[in-house]
Symmetry: C2
Subunit: 338 residues, 2 copies
Amino acid sequence: MFFQSAVCHGYAGNRAATFPLQLLGWDVDVLPTVHFSNHLAYGSTHGKVYSSEDVSSLLKGLENDSMGAYDAILTGYIPNENILDIVSEFAIAYKQRHPNTIWLMDPVMGDEGRMYVEDNVRNKYQQLLAMADIITPNAYEAQLLAGFPVEDMKSAKAAINAIHTRYHIPIVVITSFADSDDEEKLRCMASMKIGNSCQPFYFIFDYISGFFTGTGDLFASMLLAKTAHAVGDLFHKITELRSNDIQLSSDDKQRLRQGFESAVGQVLTSMHKVITNTKEYLDAQVSKDPSLLNNQFLLNNARELRIIQSQQEIQSYECSLPLYYADPEGVEEGLKGC
Amino acid sequence: MFFQSAVCHGYAGNRAATFPLQLLGWDVDVLPTVHFSNHLAYGSTHGKVYSSEDVSSLLKGLENDSMGAYDAILTGYIPNENILDIVSEFAIAYKQRHPNTIWLMDPVMGDEGRMYVEDNVRNKYQQLLAMADIITPNAYEAQLLAGFPVEDMKSAKAAINAIHTRYHIPIVVITSFADSDDEEKLRCMASMKIGNSCQPFYFIFDYISGFFTGTGDLFASMLLAKTAHAVGDLFHKITELRSNDIQLSSDDKQRLRQGFESAVGQVLTSMHKVITNTKEYLDAQVSKDPSLLNNQFLLNNARELRIIQSQQEIQSYECSLPLYYADPEGVEEGLKGC
């Protein structure tokens, strides 16, 4: 079950997330929070934000439990507090009836210092976080949740610890932040907290220059599918990890940790390929017709994620990046292939 | 570009059509005409029909030709005359600017004697048909368009001829009608008219008992993709076939005809497998829990098309059915593998 923005054209919101999950074998129910003709970066967009009544009405049809239990609820871009209220009430009530349903909350608020939701959405997310099982903020969103800038290894690790401790979320993934050692790289840091114990890990990957929309939505959807694939029958145990009294053998804990570490690496590997395909397509279009660069519409169109054309890359469970652990002082401790 | 109904849950309208086309490599823009929580057969449905303003607003965002030309426009379930007006104005204007864009019109009006659109939608379709390149009525819709019942080979062939002649549509496919020789079979009859010449052909396939929603939407979307695949560079020539002065070598005409014949057979082969998978799943669910049969909601849920689980079957370009030609008197003339 998805709650995300919808567009007719291009790949952002649930348009970036639904197809990959379906390709990976998931039946996905989709509830739009907005319905736009195209995403906002085009400069010209038509359509509308759904009213609270629109969302409530659609939800009424879905709360019939005869539909079958959802393995997961994924929430993404929700532009205003009213709709976030309705969506979160649904998710919380649903999880009460089905405690094993995983809530992956992508707390979409902004990027690179710019907010793109109403101010009070941030406070609302802070109240809701304790109900989430997995969150996937970018560096700016992690900063909004942790209360301090996330800009390097040390602050990323501190933010993960703060979010784990303050909100009791089992899985935190900061999808990307700058690599202070190398400007051409980015890092992704993630952590699974089992009871009181966690060991943040990270990956270093190439920065691909350019502005691509929908990457966060694609990341979140692939993280669900690849984690489920990697940890198998333990997937729904993620909902129990916040308990101090967790019923898991140490073997299962290790399978869960290693599966999750591998899944994050797989997602980054797939993401890198999808963005590379997109960048190559964009460059080819620009070299064919350099006037693209002066037309915001054409340019945005040429850099829509090549999701449909990257099916193999999305379906792959390969991880081509080495995995690093962050030690308690925030310095690199070990290195291991995933 | 799609104009179809949208549902959050299950597979009907563009939910049944979008994923298959994406899987077959198409970038699809989707514009909903209704947004419901689930399809109508469930007995309980929430959501709403889009207003004319909603549809117009979204279209405004898409009529920027910078988006790139659409290979095809597919129109499906459009419940009322106002929205049909807006959608058809867009399609007609778009085809004036891009004459090579194919309009596949699925004139969704009803099935088995029951209408599920407003009455005046039928008149509107009759006015619009002359602008379509491909239409895919079921037997009841073919009857509404031709003016007489379509219930056997002879009447199907007469209906195809009447529709070709009256509305000048290059491709007509009657997706299914009863086989008067064998109650356990259905037939699909199709025809491509090139200039003044056509030779209707048909396939015979097993009737799978049960009521499945979204089959027409799945048929129409696969027909687009498999025809494009089978006829390759000649795909857009379909828009020129109604001209008496068509610029095509006889070799190309033959490639186009044979490709189309093969595509219809491929679609029926894939459809049969998807419905078989669905039926097997449904039967397994019912034998696990016979009380399903008394719960309309659960039952509808269990018979949602297994589209996500049938990716291989949808992607296959195999045709496992023999092709038959109908002779001018409506009796079988020849038999040939496709």
